[in-house]
Every structure is written in structure tokens, then in C-alpha cells.
């Protein structure tokens, strides 16, 4: 069958090209300048692999395949185009969970079919299946939490023991299947149900603030599951892409946990980052409001202003107004810098994305290490919808849930102006002593509105 043979070599060659394009694409995505082209490379690889797979020898069920692709693909396209930037993390979780589900489905087809495989393949199918299923249900919970569908973190003593028991039971059934002791449909079904349950119980106790790290972890796990199923199907593109993502994702997860000053074990098992249970600290002093007019004058005559944007700026979509405001200040000769905390907002790089969107030049943007020594020399620190990332309690109070997280030293500035709508707490739900300091003034209002008022005030100075 020379036709089948040559189709096979064509498929093999295309998968090779796809693997190379994926690696080059990921490489390009890890530098800001080439990032955009990276996704195009990877996308080209995906297109090649998908199209060529239709030529796979012995394929049937084409209508079903195309129907499933159209339904899944267009739903994802539609939702991906619509989702707001602030909701990106949960959307990534959702798509990632779908990938995990896909890997689990492959494993299920192989295991239900139960054709004689060697131990190695059936073991890989089982391992990939459990990882994929955990990633599927776990990512669904992560989505629910970040989307606000699940608001409480369910937690009870013995949680870890339950997880261990579930894992042991799933592994036991998986072992029966893998070693061909009992691969009846009932056992296979039980195996997948337990794996899905495990994903739920593992993820439910984890607080929302840690979700980006957890999503990244499930992302790595899905990669691993895909790689394992690739070995089962002897599909090189899946093996390479899955393993590369598995390893890259593991590293990325560690880097993200580090940026939040947490260890991965701590994220998974400590239950920190829960909006519900965090203690609300007691703070002495009073909040001192300020009018936009006065705040505008204060900034107009400052030598140096450092802007600290936070989640509130993102929800108010105030970045354009803020940049307009800063341009006015720069025209007056004021030195303006933006101080970006690594976990400001709700996803890593959140603030950078928004400021880039508004057109703020890169050289005005500084990260935590660069800028922290500069606050002492600033006349005004303008806090816009940020809270936890400037909370000095992280430096001092060991019992605080954010203790140890590096923060921006806005309290060292000569004057602090805080834009927020009211007395709302930040993500971690704790009080912020910075707002009660003698040199702090509160400018109440939606960030966008407040910025507009400040612009008026500064224009009125001349």
C-alpha cells in the first residue's frame, strides 16, 4: 500500500514541522518584542497538524469529527473574542480544562475499547487519563471561582486526607486497568469518576487569589496528559508539544508563585488567598478625604509623581484618562513614573497590558525592585484602585494573609493620594493602614471619573 505509506510519511513530516513551529513559537512568546509573532508561528503549526490529520489512514466518522470541531471551535472563538481583559485568567482556565478533558476522552476511548495493549501503553493511558480528568474538573472549579459563580471556599478538616483517599482509590482502579487485571467498563467508569472528583476536591479549598498559580499548574498538567496520550497513540506532535508545555508550564507555575512570594506547596495546601476567611485587621486613625481640585494643585506643583495602578483602575478602564492626566503633568515639567507591582490586578502582567493599551511609553514604567527606593524622593504617590499591593501590613504583621509579599513602598512618599470608591477592601479582604496615615488623602470615586476631575483641576491651575 504505497498510498497509505506515503500519506503516513506526509503526516509524520507535517507533525515534525508542527513540533518545530510550536517550540519556535513558544520561544518567541517569551520575549516582549517577538511575542506577537510567536502565537502566529504556533498557530501555523496547529493548522498544519489539524489539516493533515484528516489524511490519517483508516479514518472514519468525518461528519462527526467536523461537527464536533465546528461546535467546539466556534463556541470558543465567540467567547474568546468577547471576554474582557480582566476575565482572561478564568477563560484560560476554561480552555485549559477543555484540553484536559480532551486528553481524558482519548484515554477513555482507548481504555473502554480495551484492545490488547502492552503494559507500558495502558499505564501511560491511565496516567494521562487521571491527570487530564483532574485538570478538567479542577479547571472548571477555578473558572467558577474567578467568574464569581462559586463564592465560598469549601474547607473542612481532613480535606487533605479525603484527597489522598480519592487519589489512592483512583490509582487502585487505574492499576487494575493498566495491568489488564480487570478492564471492564465498570472499572474504567469508576476510575474516571474518581479522577474527576479528585479535581473538584483538590481545587475547592484553594482561595481565589491563588487561582492564577493553580490555573498555570493545571495548564502544565494538561500538557503532561497530552504528552502521555501522545505516547499511547504514537503521535509525535502530541508527545513533543505536550511534554514541552508540561515542563515549561511547571517552570512558569514556579515563577508565578515566586512573584507572589509563595511556594507551590503553600498555594496548593494552605488555603491562603481566600476572600472569605481572611481576618479584617484593626487600624487606628481616620480617613481624610480630599477634593479633586486640591489634589490636582498638589500634583501640578510637585517635582515627582509616582502612579501606582491596581485592580480598581482595570475595572474602571481608567488607563486612558490616567495617561492623559500624566501627560498634562509631564508637560508642566513634573517627573512621572508608573510603579507596577508584579501581582497588581488579577493576572500577572495585567497592569502592563492595560498601560500598553493606553499608550504609556515603556521607559516610564518601572517594576517593584526598580522603583521602591524612589518613593522617598516622590512628592506624591497617586494610588489608583490599588490596595493590597501597597498595604504596609505585609511588612510587619505575621498573622496577615499577605505577610511576606513584597509591596510597593508608597507610604514612604511625602504625600499619598488614594483614588477608590469607598471603604471597599482589596482582594485579600483586609484593612489597609496606609489609608489612615497622616500624609494620606482619599479621593473618593470611580477611578475614571476621579481621573477626569483631576484633569480639569490641573488644567484650571494655569
Amino acid at each position: 500500500m504505497p498510498a497509505a505509506l506515503s500519506a503516513d510519511s506526509l503526516i509524520q513530516a507535517s507533525y515534525f514541522v508542527t513540533a518545530v513551529l510550536f517550540i519556535m513559537g513558544l520561544k518567541r512568546m517569551s520575549s516582549p518584542v517577538t511575542a506577537r509573532s510567536g502565537i502566529l508561528w504556533a498557530g501555523a503549526g496547529m493548522l498544519v497538524a489539524t489539516l493533515i490529520t484528516f489524511l490519517f489512514p483508516g479514518m472514519t466518522n468525518f461528519p462527526l469529527i467536523i461537527a464536533a470541531m465546528v461546535v467546539g471551535g466556534s463556541l470558543a472563538w465567540w467567547s474568546g473574542k468577547r471576554v474582557a481583559m480582566t476575565n482572561m485568567p478564568q477563560m484560560i482556565a476554561l480552555y485549559n480544562g477543555m484540553g484536559g478533558g480532551g486528553a481524558a476522552a482519548i484515554a477513555a476511548v482507548e481504555l473502554y475499547r480495551g484492545e490488547a495493549q502492552n503494559y507500558a501503553t495502558s499505564t501511560l493511558a491511565v496516567v494521562g487519563g487521571i491527570i487530564g480528568a483532574v485538570s478538567f474538573s479542577g479547571s472548571a472549579i477555578a473558572f467558577g471561582k474567578l467568574q464569581g459563580l462559586i463564592t465560598r471556599s469549601i474547607r473542612f478538616s481532613g480535606q487533605q486526607i479525603l484527597n489522598l483517599l480519592l487519589l489512592a482509590a483512583a490509582a487502585g482502579l487505574g492499576g487494575l486497568v493498566a495491568f489488564h487485571l480487570n478492564a471492564s467498563p465498570a472499572v474504567v467508569t469508576g476510575f474516571f469518576v474518581l479522577a474527576l472528583l479528585l479535581g473538584l476536591t483538590m481545587t475547592l479549598p484553594i482561595g481565589g487569589a491563588d487561582m492564577p498559580v493553580v490555573i498555570s499548574l493545571y495548564n502544565a498538567l494538561t500538557g503532561l496528559a497530552v504528552g502521555f496520550e501522545g505516547f499511547v497513540l504514537n503521535n509525535a506532535a502530541m508527545i513533543i508539544a505536550g511534554t514541552v508545555v508540561g515542563s515549561a508550564g511547571t517552570l512558569l507555575t514556579q515563577l508565578m508563585a515566586k512573584a507572589m512570594n509563595r511556594s507551590l506547596g503553600n498555594v496548593l495546601f494552605s488555603g491562603f488567598g481566600d476572600t472569605g476567611s481572611a481576618a479584617v485587621g484593626e487600624v487606628q486613625g481616620s480617613l481624610k478625604p480630599i477634593e479633586a481640585a486640591d489634589a490636582g494643585v498638589m500634583m501640578a506643583f510637585a517635582q515627582k509623581v509616582i502612579v501606582v495602578p491596581g485592580y480598581g483602575m482595570a475595572v474602571a478602564q481608567a488607563q486612558h484618562k490616567i495617561w492623559e492626566l500624566c501627560q498634562l503633568l509631564i508637560d508642566r515639567g513634573v517627573t512621572v513614573r508608573f510603579a507596577i507591582h508584579p501581582v497588581a490586578g488579577r493576572m500577572p502582567g495585567h497592569m502592563n497590558v492595560l498601560l500598553a493599551e493606553a499608550g504609556v511609553p515603556y521607559d516610564l514604567i518601572a517594576d517593584l525592585e526598580e522603583i521602591n527606593a524612589e518613593f522617598e524622593t516622590a512628592d506624591v504617590a497617586l494610588i489608583i484602585g490599588a490596595n493590597d499591593v501597597v498595604n504596609p501590613v505585609a511588612r510587619t504583621d505575621k498573622s496577615s494573609p499577605i505577610y511576606g509579599m513584597p509591596i510597593l513602598n508608597a507610604d514612604k512618599a511625602k504625600n499619598v493620594i488614594v483614588i477608590k470608591r469607598g471603604k471597599g477592601a482589596g482582594f485579600s479582604g483586609i484593612e489597609n493602614g496606609l489609608f489612615y496615615l497622616d500624609n494620606t488623602r482619599m479621593l473618593y470615586g470611580d477611578a475614571q471619573k476621579a481621573a477626569a476631575e483631576l484633569i480639569q483641576a490641573i488644567k484650571a491651575v494655569d
Binding site: M29, A49, N61, L64, M88, M98, G102, I106, N219
Partner: protein, 103 residues
């Protein structure tokens, strides 16, 4: 593929993935997470093969779900990554142009 060869491929792919990501700046964490999320959307080709070889109704059902989910992973991953990186393109270009003195 023999076991040891599979192990080599696994090891080398893992090193490659690790090295490619090391030293990535914090600002790219989310787009990169989303980009690697897209890359494991390659599970689509496996799901296609699984459904393409499915015979019983049960296999077909699971295969259908698998392709649907995998297609969602691939397409959704692409769309959101592209949208996020689109913003970096401009800032990257600006960085190169406007602030060349920055190292």
C-alpha cells in the same frame, strides 16, 4: 518507539520546554500561560484520530466530546493569546523605537 527512545524524547522535550521559558519577564506570564495552553490544544489531533477510529456508540460519544473539547482548547487558546499579545506588539515596538537607551 522503544521505551528508552521514548524516555530520551521525553527528557529532551522537557529540557527544551524548561529552557525556552526560563528568564521570562513577569509581564509575559499570563500571555505565555495562555500560549502554552494553546499549544497543548494539539490534543485535537489525538481526539480526531480517536473519534476517527471509534466504532461503538459509546466510543463515538466520548470521541465526539473529546474533539469538541479539544477544538475549544485550540481555538479559544489561540484567540485569547492573540488578543493579549496584540497589545504587547505595540508596546514592544514602542519600546524599541522610543526608548532605545533603556537596556
Amino acid at each position: 518507539m522503544t521505551g528508552i527512545v521514548a524516555l530520551y524524547i521525553f527528557m529532551l522535550a522537557a529540557f527544551t520546554g524548561y529552557e525556552v521559558i526560563s528568564r521570562v519577564p513577569v509581564i509575559l506570564h499570563t500571555p505565555l500561560m495562555s500560549g502554552s495552553n494553546f499549544v497543548h490544544g494539539i490534543v485535537l489531533v489525538g481526539a480526531m484520530v480517536a473519534l476517527g477510529g471509534a466504532q461503538t456508540p459509546l466510543e463515538k460519544t466520548i470521541g465526539f466530546i473529546g474533539v469538541l473539547l479539544a477544538a475549544g482548547n485550540a481555538v479559544g487558546g489561540y484567540v485569547v493569546t492573540e488578543r493579549m499579545l496584540e497589545m504587547f506588539k505595540s508596546s514592544g515596538a514602542r519600546r524599541k523605537g522610543a526608548a532605545p537607551e533603556k537596556h
